[in-house]
Amino acid sequence: MAKPKAVVKKEKCLACGGCISVCPQDAILMISSKAVVNKGQCNSCSICVKTCPIGAINWEGKKDEI
């Protein structure tokens, strides 16, 4: 099974850019003041998920996040 990809919960994101600054794949962009993960580039390393101070990034497919 393919590894899950990180996904930003838009309603929670407060646009600090922390996830973007640490993403080793450059897979996250700020679009209209929300961080957005480019799934094709995400390698599921979990750095952004752990970095988000308010828990706005989770794994795709997790029930409470989609």
């Binding site: 600090c16 850019g17 308010i54």
Partner: protein, 396 residues
């Protein structure tokens, strides 16, 4: 449409760069992706009184409160008090960052800089391998903006440097991940900026309380991203507030997140491209403070651009004057504090308590890294081994 310099980002670093370049006659454009300068605020909003020396702000509207100093609380609550003149970059004023940023931008505009909002830089404009400006989107339009110099003042998440081949991705070890409430209805009347340390309080960082008035304060937390889990910063902040009788009945007026680079200084000039402010990691790795550095570096960057325009030379050699300038002014301090950060991260809570106990009655008349280390080592010879690398840097 061609400019002497196009600046990406209208925060303090971008606006101050623009101001000093425009004042000397350079034609400057600032592009800002947001719809309002300074909004949302992403900051603890503390700044040193040194800001007054730069004369880049008029009036007092940007000041929320004037501080008398800082207090640092070790894990067991031992308090060290630093008066304002010794408290470093972080105390002096607690500011309204939205107004602060807008005042800096207004001053830049008054000197002749142009500002474009809702404009997001997406790449460098290159011809024959040379940087000729930026490509940006403005709503559904794509614009090519030509400029002799490109300035990346695009903050912690900077992309401009990457486009030119400067490695700016941060290791989680070099980022503080932050969240902050502005709380009202609190009972925190002290004229001090307070910092709380400890692994149970803020792993690899600290909690701060910056008063903005008698019953309002910014209460925030930064934890090291390498020690973070999803949502941990917010969880720890809520836990801290619940334990403080003066804060726990507070109501939030605002919640914001932030990301603070606590890294080594990096390369800030490549060909005809400069990085300024958080984008250049001009942040104190111990305190996380970057506002004063952004303003100081912005001044050097603006003046360097003005000189380059005068000579009509936009090469690395001419623009490197900027990097030499800021690295001499505060780059060494940043490096020293990076080493100090590594030593502090390695310390157990009880070591921090012991250090705080040694320093609590210390008269900070001569406040320097070297004098603190000497005081500590005299009391605790066993610390000598740990602190030796720092001592060498403090002497340098």
């Amino acid at each position: 449409m061609k400019y002497d310099a196009v600046i990406v980002g209208c925060g303090p670093a971008g606006s101050v760069t623009a101001r000093f370049a425009a004042e000397a006659g350079a034609k400057i454009l600032i592009v800002e992706r947001r719809a309002e300068v300074g909004v949302p605020v992403l900051c603890g909003e503390g700044v040193s009184q040194k800001v007054d020396h730069f004369k880049v702000l008029e009036g007092k509207r940007w000041i929320a409160a004037k501080m008398e100093g800082a207090r640092v609380f070790s894990p067991n609550g031992t308090k060290i008090t630093l008066s304002a003149e010794y408290a470093g970059n972080e105390t002096g004023y607690v500011v309204y960052r939205d107004i602060f940023d807008q005042e800096l931008a207004r001053e830049a505009a008054q000197k002749g800089a142009e500002i474009m909002l809702n404009t997001c830089a997406i790449d460098l404009l290159k011809k024959d391998g040379k940087i000729k400006g930026i490509i940006a989107t403005h709503f559904d339009e794509t614009l090519e903006i030509e400029a002799n110099v490109v300035v990346g003042a695009d903050g912690v998440e900077s992309r401009v440097g990457k486009w030119a081949g400067i490695q700016t991705t941060l290791k989680p070890y070099d980022l503080e991940t932050c969240v902050q409430y502005t709380l009202c209805n609190i009972d925190w009347g002290s004229p001090y900026c307070d910092f709380f340390l400890g692994k149970q309080v803020a792993p690899g960082g600290y909690v701060w309380v910056f008063p903005k008035g008698k019953d309002v304060a910014n209460v925030g937390i930064g934890i090291l991203a390498s020690l973070s889990e999803s949502g941990k910063a917010l969880h720890f902040l809520d836990k801290f507030i619940a334990t403080q009788p003066e804060l726990k009945n507070g109501e939030p007026l605002r919640v914001i997140t932030g990301a603070d680079p606590v890294a080594e200084p990096i390369q800030s000039v490549k060909d005809n491209l400069l990085l300024v402010g958080d984008a250049a990691r001009q942040v104190d790795p111990i305190t996380g403070g970057g506002l004063m550095h952004a303003i100081e570096a912005g001044k050097y960057a603006g003046e360097t651009i003005a000189k380059a325009v005068e000579k009509q030379r936009f090469d690395t050699q001419t623009l490197s004057e900027y990097e030499t300038w800021w690295k001499n002014a505060f780059g060494k301090k940043l490096h020293r504090n990076y080493v100090a950060k590594e030593i502090m991260l390695d310390m157990e809570d009880k070591t921090l308590d012991m250090l705080a106990d040694s320093l609590k009655d210390y008269k900070f008349e001569e406040f320097s890294t070297l004098s603190i280390i000497k005081a500590l080592v005299t009391k605790h010879p066993s610390l000598l081994v740990k602190l030796t690398p720092l001592m060498k840097l403090a002497r340098a």
